[in-house]
């Protein structure tokens, strides 16, 4: 069975601090996708990144970086120099690789609050 665990329910940091959101996944598939989505207070779901299981290279996009460790089944997300606008619920998710109707399994989400 596929499962995504985000053990951190809520995190609160002061602006400009770095923060890491943890994500651990379970799957029996040998090939799969991992995602991070952001849900700000307005409610829409914003796509941040997709990673396939073939590519363990870490990725950086501005203040965001992602660390994919297949050996520990983790896909952690770090925000550097956090800003108030980063306050949102962040979801880690998992899906199969080859099916065009891949079901995305979401973690329970981590609510991130950035205090000014």
């Amino acid at each position: 069975a596929q499962k995504v665990t985000q053990a951190q329910t809520e995190i609160s940091v002061v602006e400009k601090e770095d923060v890491t959101l943890d994500c651990v996944y379970e799957t029996r598939d040998t090939t799969y996708y991992l995602f991070w989505y952001k849900q700000p207070p307005s409610g829409e779901l914003v796509f941040l990144i997709r990673r396939n299981s073939f590519d363990e290279q870490n990725e950086i996009s501005g203040r965001y970086s992602w660390n994919f460790q297949k050996s520990t089944s983790s896909f952690n997300f770090t925000i550097t120099a956090s800003q108030v606008v980063d306050s949102a619920v962040y979801f880690c998710a998992l899906s199969g690789l080859y099916s065009s109707a891949s079901k995305i399994i979401f973690g329970s989400g981590t609510r991130l609050s950035i205090r000014p």
């Binding site: 996708y33 995602f35 989505y37 409610g43 829409e44 779901l45 796509f47 997709r50 979801f91 065009s100 109707a101 891949s102 079901k103 995305i104 979401f106 973690g107 329970s108 989400g109």
Partner: protein, 114 residues
Amino acid sequence: SAVISQKPSRDICQRGTSLTIQCQVDSQVTMMFWYRQQPGQSLTLIATANQGSEATYESGFVIDKFPISRPNLTFSTLTVSNMSPEDSSIYLCSVEDRNQETQYFGPGTRLLVL
């Protein structure tokens, strides 16, 4: 990325009534998906909608409660039937983009059932 709109954006409904939510995409897509997000919870897939065929429902969701239409490649509807307060949720549609890179989500419909 695809631009997705949903109507209504929010609604307050009475117990026992039904509400139909519309999802419109600005490009033709093969797969459309409907998710539910109960208050303070994560997203759960309700069903997958292919154009020209019956929707495929996930465990715990049935067609009588959540009938879905998919009349063409840019539009789908989800009906929440015989509503109860437990149906109060955000309902989101999503589409798989043309290159199957990821799923993009609509803005959601916030439903409150009294």
